[in-house]
Amino acid sequence: MDEKHFTPENIDMAWCPGCGDFGILKSLKKALAELEIAPENLVMVSGIGQAAKIPQYLNCHYFNGLHGRALSPATAIQAVNPHLTVIAESGDGDMYGEGGNHFIHTIRRNPNITNIVHNNMVYGLTKGQASPTSRRGFKTPVQVAGVLLEPFNPLAVAIALDASFVARTSITDPDHTKAIIKQAIRHEGYSLVDILQPCVSFNKINTYQWFKDHAYPIENHDPHDRRAAFDLALQESENGKLPLGVLYVNPDKVPYHKAAGLYESDSSPLWQRPLDREKLCTLIAEY
């Protein structure tokens, strides 16, 4: 399949020239095309922010909902119709800040969705304030003395919650990003792909070169080894290094829609199942 299938006509893109979002969009389209996912079977769910505009630039179904809330509708869409491929994609502020509670509990719930997070360590659409992943000391018009808060470590949180797939890539390597996205979509269960990305307008510290200098590909790591994965995830807090690749996979977790018990003998989406009125009459007769 050609990635052009995913390019809509006549779109006016709101991203800044040189933004990492363009690279992520391209890698995502290539991944989708290589996986032969038909646009009519794909639902992109996003929140609010520059990254969250990505569904606007894709030819597919989409639910561009509220700030921080992408994971909730994404979970429900997939659970109500498991034939759909569902990707929840937004920025670090949306997923880790405004939507932090949903991030935690969606991991626990383990829906069969792919969660892609554009992590540029800054707020773009609101013009340059700190994000949950901004490094300590990062100065902004709000954090005038520099960020005081400990940066949110999404990989460590996800592994601590036994997320079924946890990976990080950097858009400084688009091919690696595409390969990881493909693995994440193929994985059955919740998968997190945190994508490091420069913000050319508001982040003059964590630049393209900065990511090249601080990120490195993981070697000789068994992603089924949760403790080793956690050690890798802690590196960014301990020595500022950002390991890239699949940190952790738990293949034994049952995806939410299956655990919920409505698809054991019937794989059809819920809307195709008629109400059993005879059963309802029987239930009413019990009162």
Partner: protein
């Protein structure tokens, strides 16, 4: 309304949480219903798991009873402090039955108390835990329930237990029954009510269950909710029956997730209900606004309790009408339904799903703690008619989710059904659903969203007038759960010139809603809140003013006697 007074016994059980008040109640009401008595029960309870003092008020009658009364004919206190808990409701005609040592200090002179050593009898049989069964036996005898009926019921309820426990339960029941027979003989305590054979064919169902059955009948297949009194009953009901009816039931991490999941479910072809109380609904308001923007169907069950903030978590109020009416930023249409009877709860909840789906709007089912926790016998709900019709289409290529049309309704498609692509965007959007900042298009989209209001007015359920087609000189106006209480009060007053107008749809109003009000000389609006919110709604949306409001906001429901007094004060 014509004068009527039901022949009934008001029986009240009082005890701390966890003391078995519920066991006595559950067994007793089933047995009394089987014996052909009309049953009404409501409860008030404290926001705690153990201890405190809770009460269940039952009315047992030969004709339908559906409202709480202050009067107590028979009080069963199960612990010290129980009599004081209901002191205001006692009179010289109240009979207090129980272990006198527990409450002797709490009764004033002139009150009649009969000592029944429940726990002594139970202990002699084997254990104090049989006290509740002794009480069931005694009460069964007082209402002339055949012993066999009681025995069969108890055996069924405890089926599968140890033989020793079954035997001892039987002995406890027998001992209680003998006590009852003794009371009838020696103390002249006896209740002669005429059973009604029709009652056995009816169902005994609570407000929460009626909403739940209505949701199933409306094709509900998704609920994601955060537990919150008094809305939790619906969540547990749907959880219990979820697998039988293909309902996906999830406990959401918060109400924000709950409503956003509900919208995701509708987007993908599901039929979802969001269920909560005031505080939880406050968290949902951004999601409600999203439903408005993406023209998503949504059913919201809002079970009211007194606020602001945490308020009185287990008490009742009709204080969130304004919240339901104005919640959510921006302008978008909505419907608010407020059942007054269990039958209406069943019908209107099913109807809510259909309205939401047809007009792509949020529809509220507004109940309250009093309503969801109250039950009585009512005609069995009829689910034989197919009420579930999907109103989405199979999409074609080039499908536009928000196609402009004169009616304001754009055919709704869902992903995975047809060749088209389905977009939903919380930003202002074009016909396809893509973000736009075209201000001319913005105007068209707002007009389109609001144009559906005309359908909602056309489809609005009008208020019900008693007596039918009357022009009463004096009119009481009420909405939602207060209906049966006002009805009984007006029957007791029994004035030909006094009528009742009840709204089960409070917004938007039926175009002719104000007509009966306009004809009345004295207009009294009765509401379980402090602000007279519905009276304000009538003024704002029907341009009609009431002369008097009867308001209550203590956290308790109105009682029949209270309404009689307050209406009489106005009319005399």
């Amino acid at each position: 309304m014509k004068k009527k007074k039901p022949q009934d016994i008001s029986l009240v059980l009082v005890g701390p949480a966890g003391m078995g008040v519920q066991t006595v109640e559950q067994v007793l009401v089933k047995v009394l219903q089987s014996a052909g008595y009309h049953i009404y029960a409501t409860k008030e309870y404290m926001s705690r798991v153990r201890g405190g003092m809770n009460s269940t008020s039952l009315r047992v009658a030969g004709s339908p009873v559906r409202a709480p009364v202050d009067r107590i004919d028979l009080l069963i206190p199960l612990a010290a402090g129980a009599v004081s808990h209901v002191a205001k409701r006692l009179s010289s005609s109240t009979i207090i039955l129980g272990e006198k040592a527990l409450f002797e200090k709490e009764i004033e002179d002139g009150f009649r108390a009969i000592d029944i050593p429940f726990s002594k009898i139970a202990t002699e049989i084997g254990s104090k835990i049989y006290s509740n069964i002794v009480a069931v036996g005694l009460l069964g005898a007082l209402f002339h329930v055949e012993f066999q009926l009681l025995q069969d019921f108890i055996r069924k309820r405890f089926a599968g237990k140890d033989q020793k426990i079954l035997d001892e339960n039987g002995q406890a029941l027998q001992a209680g029954y003998e006590q009852g027979a003794r009371l009838a003989e020696q103390e002249n305590v006896e209740f002669d009510l005429k059973p009604d054979p029709n009652v056995k064919k009816q169902m005994l169902v609570s407000g929460a269950e009626a909403v739940g059955l209505g949701a199933i009948a409306g094709g509900c297949n998704f609920i994601a909710a955060y537990p919150m009194s008094p809305s939790t009953g619906l969540l547990t009901f749907l959880a219990k029956h979820g697998r039988d009816f293909n309902i996906l039931v999830e406990q959401a991490e918060d109400e924000i997730a709950g409503i956003n999941m509900a919208l995701g479910a509708w987007y993908a072809g599901g039929r979802a209900i969001a269920s909560t109380s005031g505080g939880g609904f406050a968290l949902m308001t951004e999601g409600l606004s999203l439903a408005g923007m993406i023209e998503s169907p949504l059913v919201v069950h809002l079970a009211q309790r007194p606020g602001p903030a945490t308020g009185l978590p287990t008490r009742t109020e009709q204080g969130d009408l304004d919240l339901a009416l104005y919640a959510g930023h921006g302008e978008f249409p909505r419907v608010i339904l407020a059942p007054g009877t269990l039958q209406q709860a069943f019908d209107l909840t099913g109807h809510a799903f259909d309205l939401a789906d047809r007009f792509q709007i949020p529809v509220f089912v507004l109940t309250d703690q009093y309503f969801v926790d109250t039950y009585y016998n009512t005609d069995r709900f009829d689910a034989s008619e197919d009420r579930v019709h999907h109103h989405f289409i199979e999409s074609e290529e080039g499908y536009k989710r928000f196609a402009l049309s004169d009616s304001g309704l754009s055919p709704r498609a869902i992903p995975g059904h047809g060749k088209g692509l389905v977009a939903a965007d919380s930003d202002e959007h074009d016909e396809f659903g893509r973000i736009t900042e075209d201000l001319d298009l913005r105007v068209k989209m707002v007009d389109k969203r609001l144009a559906r209001t005309k359908f909602l007015v056309e489809e609005a359920i009008g208020p019900t007038l008693w007596p039918q087609e009357s022009d009463s000189k004096h009119l009481v106006i009420c909405w939602g759960s207060t209906l049966p209480i006002v009805q009984e009060a007006l029957e007791r007053i029994g004035r030909d010139d006094l009528g009742l107008l009840h709204f089960s749809q409070v917004f938007p109003l039926h175009p002719a809603a104000a007509q009966p009000i306009g004809k009345a000389q004295t207009r009294i609006c009765l509401e379980n809140n402090a602000g007279g919110q519905f009276a304000r709604l009538l003024k704002t949306y029907a341009d009609i003013e009431v002369d008097h409001t009867i308001l209550k906001y203590s956290g308790a429901a109105f009682t029949v006697e209270e309404i009689v007094t307050r209406i009489t004060e106005i009319l005399d």
